[in-house]
């Protein structure tokens, strides 16, 4: 039998026939189709049991209640907690993207010790025991040399058990240098102290007010407790409350206001005085409050009526006098008017006078401790620990003046002046700082005059960061002792910003710690125990969790069940007993030092000739500019008129742009006395001519490619301007020049 072509062909045909009659080709087609849908790099999330864990968000001072959906032991979605006093179910975009922080590749996975130069990014893993021993040794040495006061802590908050542990540690150690990240809360705290004699923070009754006069406060851009403000604002739509926004730029807040009044930046206090002028002149003020519950009104009235007539205020502010008069009348005639201040998100304390003038306005119309008004809230007395027993070294150390001179003769009433700290270190006039701990803050990014801050840090021999993420400060530290992320730890979250009632939220672990991190509270306790002596005595707790439970006492059970505790007996409406001043009343003019609130213009840096324009920052809720940087979801929402590729846009009025020959999208060189930046131009009719606006929150150099290298850090272009009365940073901008690049 010969096998020839025909046979072979018939064999093949038979094979083909058989193949088609078999399932092989059809099954293979089906399988291939399925195979093409299964790329191994497209993840298939595992299913499992769905459960919810309640907690409190700590990504800003808003303190919203959140509930986190879990699938088995993975957290998959953050949602707002319905019924929580601050936010009742709503949550902002930063809170929503918290899981991108929890599971971020920028998480510091364990204690790290620097190898090589600072900022090089070379680290070696170190055990917790070794890390704590090393720090304890350095601190112990400083103590024995009588230099305990050269240790400082920068903290993002000063309320709650964790900051109080810092405070306790430094007191027992012998250093006065606990520093707080500045904000408008500083000004408000000092204002309440000087005008009402209390140690408290402001609580605003936004839910009941019917006229909101905002001096640049971006309550739709992240001021106060953002979600609470959004809800209040939505409520105003139904109640018909009026909102007047006074600022040089059309922010989201101004766009949503009933009326946007553009004002020359930095002159807000002058306007407030002008409004007071009209209100007093036309006798529109609350005589009951002014006559029966205030002191020093006569002196203040003289000042107001003497200098701040509508025409002179019109010249200063750029707002015509008819508007000023109408505004004053509208404000005073409302039944529950409320004035607020704090530019943008309230990142800078601003001028003390400005805050006091706005508070005086509230007093004038009877909005102090009344429905729809402003209250003094203090909800932190629950941290009641036994007094620290100082040893000789501690006592001697505490005798030293603070490095930032807060509380000194110069600034007797201010408590924290972090803005003065870089100059104090750089000038070497006082004592040097030899060890610095940073927790819940990112000073190398968020403090103005970045160059000065970097120089100051370079002079400090030991910098320890407790950051959970590799942020700018952590990158330049010597040791990173990573804290659990906020979703992995217990912590008390007292006093959500601006809330009327004292509320303590309970942040609790949603997932097991993902990495080899430790609660900063635990680390402080261990450090104190390692140092022994009176320090160890002052920190007798076994762990932070034990300390927290003990401190909260019978509130703990409620907090575990509800997620928060709220004082049922809180009532600050009693005007007779609300003021703790010398006079026992609200003081328009401080009876102790004769302080009279007025417009004290803050001179921004730069001369008009070399720097013809004015640069102001603006805040967006989509650009986190504090101790946390934008997670990928949030930076994704930033508009392409703000950021394009790696370039940031500055906003410029079309008239000004024309005068400088600048077009939309054009590259320009921005120079201030503090720094230079290459930017692009965006023409925007929502900004006053002559003003250039740059957003805060960009220009990171740390974290990862999703955030780093995009835009410019505003803080590199501006420096602090010291308020002469408080020492706070009152810079609202800086002079700038713009040229085609």
């Amino acid at each position: 039998m010969k096998i020839d072509r025909r046979s072979f062909l018939s064999f093949l045909i038979g094979g083909a026939a058989g193949t088609t009659l078999s399932p092989l080709p059809w099954k293979l087609m089906d399988d291939s189709a399925i195979w093409t849908q299964m790329w191994p790099w497209t993840p298939v999330p595992e299913d499992g049991e769905s459960s919810y864990v309640n907690s409190v968000c700590t990504l800003c001072s808003g303190g919203c209640g959140i509930t986190i959906r879990k699938i088995d032991d993975r957290a998959v979605k953050i949602e707002g907690m319905k019924g929580y006093p601050v936010n009742d179910g709503g949550v902002c975009l930063l809170g929503l993207s918290g899981l991108q922080l929890l599971y971020s590749p920028t998480r510091v996975k364990g204690p790290l010790k620097r190898v090589g130069k600072r900022g090089q990014g070379k680290w070696e893993k170190i055990s917790w025991n070794d890390a704590i021993s090393e720090v304890a040794k350095t601190l112990s040495d400083l103590r024995s040399k009588g230099q305990s006061h050269t240790v400082g802590i920068i903290s993002g908050s000063d309320r709650g058990t964790v900051p109080r542990l810092f405070d306790r540690f430094l007191t027992a150690f012998g250093s006065p240098n606990l520093m707080l990240t500045p904000s408008i809360q500083d000004s408000y705290e000092l204002t309440l102290h000087l005008m009402q004699g209390v140690q408290a923070l402001p609580g605003f009754d936004f839910e009941n007010t019917d006229f909101i006069l905002s001096f640049g406060s971006g309550f739709i851009d992240g001021w106060g407790s953002p979600v609470r403000m959004f809800r209040a604002h939505s409520n105003w739509r139904s109640t018909g409350a009026k909102v007047i926004q006074i600022e040089p730029r059309l922010s989201h807040t101004a766009a949503k206001a009933d009326k946007w009044i553009p004002i020359n930046p930095g002159t807000e206090a002058a306007l407030a005085m002008g409004l007071a002028h009209v209100i007093i002149k036309e006798s529109l003020y609350d005589t009951n409050f002014v006559d029966n519950f205030s002191e020093g009104f006569y002196d203040w009235k003289r000042l107001v009526l003497g200098k701040y007539g509508p025409d002179s205020v019109a010249t200063i502010t750029g707002i015509d006098s008819t508007t000023i008069i109408a505004l004053a009348r509208g404000f005073a005639r409302a039944s529950k008017p409320l004035a607020i201040c704090g530019r943008g998100q309230g990142t800078t304390p601003g001028s003390l006078h400005e805050c006091m003038v706005v508070h005086a306005l509230n007093a004038l119309v009877g909005s102090i401790n009344s429905n729809g008004g402003v209250f003094a809230v203090n909800g932190t007395e629950y941290v009641n620990w036994p007094e620290v027993e100082m040893d000789g070294i501690a006592a001697a150390g505490m005798q030293n003046e603070r490095l930032d001179e807060a509380g000194s003769k110069k600034y007797p009433h201010s408590r924290y002046l972090l803005n003065r700290f870089p100059a104090a270190v750089n000038s070497e006039e006082k004592y040097p700082l030899q060890a610095l701990f940073v927790a819940g803050a990112n000073p190398l990014y968020s403090m103005p005059d970045s160059n000065a801050v970097k120089k100051a840090f370079a002079k400090i021999p030991l910098v320890v960061s407790f950051s959970s993420y590799l942020d700018e400060t952590a990158q330049n530290a010597d040791l990173i002792l990573p804290n659990h992320s906020y979703l992995e730890r217990y912590e008390d979250i007292p006093l959500p910003a601006g809330l009327l009632k004292p509320v303590i939220g309970l942040s609790r672990p949603v997932v097991e710690p993902q990495f080899n991190t430790r609660h900063v509270g635990d680390v402080i306790i261990l450090l104190a125990k390692a140092l022994g002596g009176n320090l160890s005595d002052a920190f007798a707790w076994d762990s932070y969790n034990a300390c927290l439970k003990e401190t909260l006492g019978d509130k703990w059970q409620t907090m575990v069940e509800e997620g928060f505790w709220s004082d049922p007996y809180f009532n600050t409406k009693d005007l007779e007993t609300s003021f703790d001043t010398i006079s026992g009343k609200f003081e328009f003019a401080n009876q102790d030092n004769g302080f009279l609130p007025q417009f004290t213009p803050v001179k921004i840096q730069g001369d008009e000739k070399s720097y013809p324009l004015v640069l102001i920052p603006y805040d967006s809720i989509r650009l986190a500019n504090g101790f946390i940087g934008d997670p990928p979801f949030v930076i994704k929402t930033v508009e392409d008129t703000v950021l394009k590729g790696k370039d940031v846009f500055v906003e410029l009025n079309p008239k000004t742009a024309r005068a400088y020959g600048l077009r939309e999208g054009q590259r320009a060189m921005l120079s201030t006395p503090k720094g230079k930046a290459n930017v692009k131009i965006h023409l925007f009719d929502g900004i006053m001519p002559g003003i250039v606006a740059l957003p805060r929150g960009l220009g990171h150099t740390a974290y990862d490619d999703y955030l780093a290298g995009k835009g410019i850090n505003f803080n590199e272009l501006i420096g602090p301007v010291e308020d002469p009365d408080s020492g706070f940073d009152a810079a609202w901008g800086i002079r700038v020049k713009l040229a085609k690049a």
Binding site: M1, S10, S22, L28
Partner: protein, 268 residues
């Protein structure tokens, strides 16, 4: 034409010991014809059978790979011990989701320590329970990620029996070998044991067409009077023209395109 006798004579003539086959052209052609036909058909048949064997027998052997379950679990034994049959371990949660294959904490309720004397149980307790390690069960009914299957809709609402889709697992005393497709990674039970996709019982296959078999009968025939699909509208118009005044027939289906269930009822 020479006759056979002539041929025989021709052979005899040459018979000096040698037998030589005399080939005459006609005979040769005939012989060649017969020889050429045979191999062609034969090869065809050979090819046919070879490919059929490859397609039906060898192909499945190559396509599917075998794996053993980590622990050989005896369903029959456990069913005897519990009260609610399948639902004792494969239960619905409060929110209506299905727990699927039980987790370790379910087993630990009884198996904190070794209960019987099977070597597999000892292995289970030593390697998994005492080390708090989940057993990596190989799930033969695992569907692709784009499938959304609601157990509660089928068990509680449609009141189907577990065996309808999963077969008589409850009566088995050991877990069968897990066979999976080398190309797709899915269990053989999805396409079905038969490589040709033939099924005898409802639980032999779990492809989308098998779901559709039931759905076409049970759920897709929703009649609605308030919603018109394009096809329905066309018919309405035709009927309205041809038989004015006649009652309109109702339309079927949720999906506008397929007139069956909407896609997202089963897909996500």
């Amino acid at each position: 034409m020479s006759t056979l006798d002539d041929n025989a004579k021709a052979i005899e003539d040459n018979a000096e010991g040698e037998e030589v086959a005399i080939s005459s052209p006609e005979i040769n052609i005939k012989e060649q014809d017969n020889g050429a036909g045979g191999p062609v058909i034969l090869f065809f048949i050979v090819g046919l059978f070879a490919s059929l064997i490859v397609g039906w027998i060898i192909f499945p052997k190559l396509l599917y790979s075998k794996k053993r379950q980590p622990i050989d679990f005896n369903h029959r034994l456990h069913i005897a011990e519990v009260e609610d049959e399948c639902e004792s371990c494969h239960f619905f949660r409060e929110d209506g989701t299905y727990s699927g294959v039980p987790k370790l904490e379910q087993c630990v309720e009884c198996h904190e320590e070794v209960q019987g004397n099977s070597p597999d149980e000892i292995k289970f307790v030593e390697e998994y329970v005492s080390q708090d390690r989940e057993v990596p069960w190989l799930v033969s009914s695992k569907q692709p990620d784009n499938v959304f299957f609601s157990h509660v809709a089928h068990v509680k609402v449609a009141e189907m029996e577990c065996v309808t889709c999963h077969g008589l697992i409850g009566e088995s005393e050991s877990l069968k070998v897990y066979e999976y497709n080398r190309i797709t990674g899915y269990s053989r039970d999805i396409w079905g044991k038969s490589i040709g996709g033939f099924k005898k019982n409802t639980w032999d296959r779990m492809k989308m067409d098998d779901c559709a078999e039931c759905h076409e009968k049970e759920t897709a025939g929703i009649e609605r009077t308030d919603v018109k699909t394009p096809l329905g509208r066309l018919f309405d118009n035709l009927i309205a023209i041809s038989f004015p005044g006649m009652e309109m027939p109702s339309n079927k289906g949720d999906s506008v395109q397929t007139e069956r269930d909407a896609c997202f009822v089963c897909h996500k």
